[in-house]
C-alpha cells in the first residue's frame, strides 16, 4: 500500500515537472497553456491520490481539493486563452514563426 502511494507521489511530482518544462519549452502562449494545464492538473491529482493513500482519513478534504482543481484549472486556462485571443495575441505557426 505504501509502495503504491509512493509511486503516485513520484508520478504526480514528475508530471508537475513535465508541465513546467512544457511551459518553458513551447513556442507560443497557447501551447504553453496547453502544456501547463494538462500536465499540472493530472500531476496534482496523482499527488493528491498518493497523499490520500497514505492518510485514508483525509479523503473528504482531499476530494474537495481535487475536485476544485479538476473543475477550475481548465476554466482558468480557457478564460486566459480567450482573453489573449480577444486581445489579439497571434497563434504561432511553423511557416511564419510569431514574435
Amino acid at each position: 500500500m505504501t509502495l503504491i502511494a509512493d509511486a503516485f507521489l513520484i508520478l504526480g511530482a514528475l508530471f508537475c515537472f513535465l508541465g513546467a518544462l512544457g511551459v518553458v519549452r513551447m513556442p507560443d502562449v497557447y501551447n504553453r497553456i496547453q502544456a501547463g494545464t494538462k500536465a499540472v492538473t493530472l500531476g496534482s491529482l496523482a499527488l493528491l491520490l498518493g497523499v490520500g493513500l497514505h492518510h485514508p482519513d483525509w479523503w473528504p478534504k482531499l476530494l474537495a481539493v481535487g475536485l476544485f482543481i479538476l473543475l477550475t484549472n481548465p476554466i482558468g486556462s480557457s478564460t486566459l486563452a480567450r482573453a489573449f485571443y480577444n486581445a489579439g495575441v497571434p497563434v504561432w505557426n511553423k511557416r511564419r514563426p510569431g514574435p
Partner: protein
C-alpha cells in the same frame, strides 16, 4: 518529520518544476507568458502544500491548499478580465 528517499525525490521534482515556472516568469517575454507561468506556479504550489500536509502530518495544511487554490483561481480570472478589456 522524517524524510525518506521518496519524499526527497518528490520535493526535488516539485522544486525543479517551480524553478522552471519561475524561469518562464522571469524571461517572459510578454505579459501573457508571465500570467501563464503564474497560473502554473499556483497549481504546483497547491500540490506542494498538500504534500507538506503529508510531511508535517497535519491536515490543517489541506485547508491552506484549498484556500490558496481558490485565491489563485480568482486572481487568474481577474487578470484575464483585465487583459481582455471591457468586452463582455
Amino acid at each position: 518529520m522524517n524524510m525518506g528517499t521518496v519524499d526527497l525525490i518528490v520535493l526535488a521534482l516539485l522544486g525543479a518544476a517551480s524553478a522552471l515556472a519561475l524561469l518562464r516568469l522571469w524571461i517572459g517575454p510578454r505579459s501573457p507568458d508571465r500570467i501563464v507561468a503564474t497560473d502554473t506556479l499556483a497549481v504546483i504550489a497547491t500540490a506542494m502544500i498538500v504534500f507538506l500536509a503529508l510531511l508535517f502530518d497535519s491536515p490543517l495544511y489541506l485547508d491552506v491548499a484549498l484556500l490558496y487554490g481558490v485565491l489563485a483561481f480568482v486572481g487568474v480570472i481577474a487578470l484575464a478580465r483585465a487583459i481582455e478589456g471591457n468586452r463582455t
